[in-house]
């Protein structure tokens, strides 16, 4: 119970620090500007305007929240070690799992808030253009959040062995990109032979299939994310967290 309170304290502090950080404000301004740019793009799409506006806005929301989450996950441990804040934390009876869980929860809570705020802006802009909420909008935003939880926890893991925040962001960004091409990789692996097939199949085990969370690609009622998507997100997040905890429990400060 005490450890859970510690986790909540770390999460609350992490969320508060993120929300009041100027970087967060910059992201909000950026997101608003980018979504407005999508309206301009929509005007040029003529009869496909509603679809272009919805897809472009949702993609920008996801990318903005992704950039924020990766920045946080890759820099938070390094920054706390550099400022020695971590000394004040780990010299106390703070279990490392509670610290890691709190930091991840704080980052995801902030990312969720970003998605909600940007979603509100996006829907308001759509309404201004005379369109209602696109079908499956909520599922699409939820899918983006599931992707963020997988990639953020992976970024925490990478940050524990990577030498800089930039390399963590690059590795995690590559993972995010590769995660959208797992079906293509599987197709290639089936066609390949010998070592390259084995290498591709091996790599696919380490790359989360982020296409599972793309509700926008489906139409009508099929856009609802299946339970398997939630289970996959939970499994990837938990796996990355356990790997990160394994490294963190051995880490010296």
């Amino acid at each position: 119970m005490k450890s859970v309170r510690v986790l909540l304290a770390v999460a609350g502090n992490s969320f508060y620090e993120s929300v009041r950080h100027r970087f967060f404000l910059l992201f909000a301004v950026f997101a608003f500007t980018a979504i407005y740019a999508s309206v301009l793009a929509g005007v040029m799409a003529v009869d496909q305007e509603a679809r272009v506006l919805a897809d472009f806005g949702l993609a920008l929301m996801e990318l903005t929240a992704l950039a924020y989450a990766l920045f946080t996950a890759s820099s938070v441990l390094l920054r706390e070690a550099e400022t020695k804040t971590i000394y004040l934390v780990f010299s106390r009876p703070v279990p490392r799992w509670a610290y890691l869980g709190g930091k991840l929860a704080g980052a995801l809570l902030t990312a969720a808030l970003m998605l909600v705020v940007m979603g509100g802006m996006h829907l308001a802009l759509l309404a201004l253009r005379g369109f209602g909420a696109p079908a499956c909008y909520g599922w699409a935003v939820l899918g983006s959040f599931l992707k963020l939880s997988v990639i953020t926890s992976a970024a925490f893991f990478v940050s524990l062995f990577s030498t800089s925040a930039v390399s963590t962001m690059v590795i995690s960004g590559v993972l995010w990109t590769a995660g959208h091409f797992v079906s293509e990789a599987r197709f290639l692996a089936d066609k390949a032979h010998g070592v390259s097939a084995a290498a591709l199949k091996g790599a696919m085990l380490l790359i989360p299939n982020l296409q599972l969370f793309n509700a926008r690609d489906a139409a009508g009622a099929a856009c609802a994310l299946p339970p398997a998507a939630f289970a996959a997100a939970a499994a990837w997040t938990l796996g990355a967290c356990l790997a990160a905890l394994w490294l963190l429990s051995r880490k010296e400060f």
Binding site: R5, Y87, L88
Partner: protein
């Protein structure tokens, strides 16, 4: 209850630095055995690189010994039972500049397992104890170095520890701030708390401590008691200079 707050037994710490052409190793402390008695003020002196900060980190569980055993009140330093009884002030502690002192302390109090009225009481007591009460309305960004050090001490006192571990507590402070911190530490010791502090200031250590450990190149060169340096011509400074030369 253990008579010793801390015991080091044949402790060695070697740092591994991974490199492109293989790892390199640096031994920071070697064959280190000593005790810190409960309820006493013990000082740690040494030149830069002598291993002082390594010792502080070993006994707060921030790093792990490569060999030997460290015990804090009979427990491994990584155990919660040991950490609950230790308050640590690192050198130049950092606090988010936008926070007010009570906000920063509340966070660290929560991490120490405090909540509700007990947390509010602990924050008030720590601020009162360290003389931060009149500055409660200021933000950390407005704090002088002396006030930051007081805040650092306040966070170390929040959970009412039996042992205070202080890394360079008077480093860079003006004479008045040093005087105040010295008075505060003497008061804390008078309540029965053990204090273990490292410093480059021999005169400060001489005024506060009842025992001093002198480290030379990662090894314990001497353990000097107050009676010894008071009887020695030139005092603790002469003993220190002879030990490190």
């Amino acid at each position: 209850m253990s008579a010793h707050a801390v015991s080091f037994s044949a402790v060695e710490k070697t740092y591994k630095r991974p490199g492109f052409l293989g790892a390199s190793y640096t031994t920071a402390v070697k064959d280190l055995s000593f005790e810190i008695p409960a309820g006493e003020i013990t000082g740690l002196l040494g030149l830069n690189g002598a291993g002082k900060t390594t010792i502080m980190k070993l006994l707060t569980g921030l790093i792990f010994p490569s060999a030997g055993k460290v015990k804090v009140f009979g427990h491994a330093p990584t155990e919660g039972a040991a950490k609950a009884r230790v308050g640590f002030l690192p050198e130049l502690p950092y606090f988010p500049p936008h926070l007010k002192p009570a906000e920063a302390l509340a966070y660290y109090g929560r991490l120490s397992g405090l909540a509700g009225p007990a947390l509010a009481q602990a924050v008030r007591a720590a601020m009162d104890r360290t003389g931060l009460e009149p500055h409660a309305g200021k933000r950390v960004s407005e704090f002088s170095k002396g006030m930051l050090q007081r805040l650092g001490l306040a966070q170390a006192l929040l959970h009412d520890p039996d042992l205070l571990v202080l890394d360079e507590p008077v480093s860079g402070l003006d004479p008045l701030a040093i005087h105040d911190i010295r008075g505060l530490l003497a008061g804390l010791n008078a309540e029965g708390r053990a204090v273990f502090l490292s410093s480059h200031s021999i005169s400060e250590v001489e005024k506060l401590c009842s025992r001093v450990l002198i480290m030379v190149k990662g090894r314990l060169a001497a353990v000097v008691k107050r009676a010894q340096w008071e009887a020695a011509p030139g005092g603790l400074e002469t003993i220190f200079v002879e030990a490190v030369r």
